[in-house]
Amino acid sequence: MSVVASMPPAATAPRATSALTGRFMNPYLAGFGLGLVLLAAFLIMGRGLGATAASASVVAWLTGLVAPEWTASNPALKNYAAEPPWINWTFYLVVAAFVGAWVSAKLAGRIRWRVEGGPHATIQMRYALAFAGGAIAAFGARLAKGCTSGQALTGGAQLNLGSWVFMLAVFAGAYALALLVRREWR
């Protein structure tokens, strides 16, 4: 038993909930559909899917408003500063993904204001860990020049060496920490 696991959650703290209700699409069918979208991106645009670049474009735009010279000379932001959100391809992709997900959830009756977490997770805990996890994931995605979409899916289909190293490392990293944070999800 780890220290985290042996601590009883405060009975009064607001609890997180899971949205694991309703019927989802067969995972192989959903994967096939996702694969066709990815293939279409290759055939039409000569590029795959992604999400990280959208965030980088927004961040570079915001820092550009405050510190234009620093942004324009920053190696991690200068390419995105040249492509503000309103002409950034991935930004359009991600905004449309939000809409597509919303329409899908709406039609399935799955939209519900909630905080995701296991039966022992509190809302406060989930907010703190979602922010921290997002920040850690961002550092990883920038190091690897892509995330689960831009590297694992896209580069995976291209048989890109670095993408496969990245993908295996993603699973290794998540499995390695799964026991440590199990009170968050189980």
């Binding site: 949205a19 989802f24 699409m25 192989y28 559909g33 996702l34 979208v37 990815l38 055939l43 039409i44 645009m45 000569g46 920053n74 991690a76 932001l77 359009y92 992709l93 905004v95 449309a96 939000f98 597509g100 997900a101 329409v103 899908s104 959830a105 519900r112 204001w113 909630r114 995701e116 296991g118 039966p119 907010y127 979602a130 922010f131 996890g133 920040a135 850690i136 994931a137 961002a138 920038r142 190091l143 690897a144 020049k145 892509g146 689960t148 979409s149 899916l153 995976g156 291209q158 048989l159 890109n160 060496l161 670095g162 993408s163 990245f166 993908m167 993603v170 990293g173 998540a174 968050e184």
Partner: protein
Amino acid sequence: MTLPLYGFELIGDGTGLLVALGLGFGFGWFLERAGFGSGCRLCGQFYLYDMTVLKVMFTAIVTAAVGLWLFSTVGLLDLEYVYMTPTSLTAQLVGGLLLGAGFIIGGYCPGTSVVAGATGAKDGFVFVGGFAFGVFVYALFPGVENWVNANSIGAVTLPQVFGISYGLLVAILVVAALAAFAGAEWSERKFAHLRPK
């Protein structure tokens, strides 16, 4: 050879952005249909009782990989015009470990956090905010980005690494995926008791 359309200048930047809207809609649609708006469902992958992440990802990869091979082999697609990110091995190994850590800690990956937010998961929006914060922090260490680029070995593919043909590697990928799917189904039966009540 006329594909990709954008590479052969059959469509321009403006049309490309419209294409992004269509592709993005499908992207979000299938992620949500798979149940990826739920951090609990995503993270079930790492407690072995819900292998949906592996099934969806591997099926999508195989579908697109076979498609790429098919279209390029029959001569419809010129892979020279399909952008591939350069490999930087250590950076991508460490980056993957960090993204995996962020995934299990935060509950999402960048794309699925957006999908989760669209279904009303407030922690999904918080993850998006944390991600943007992380992108900003990364930029505060310009030496890191310079190091990643300095250690790039260019675009390298698995067929090149193993010295086998493109078609053979795609065939191996298909067989490996079928084996992984069998393993995933077994895992879900074996560890069904770990699913939270």
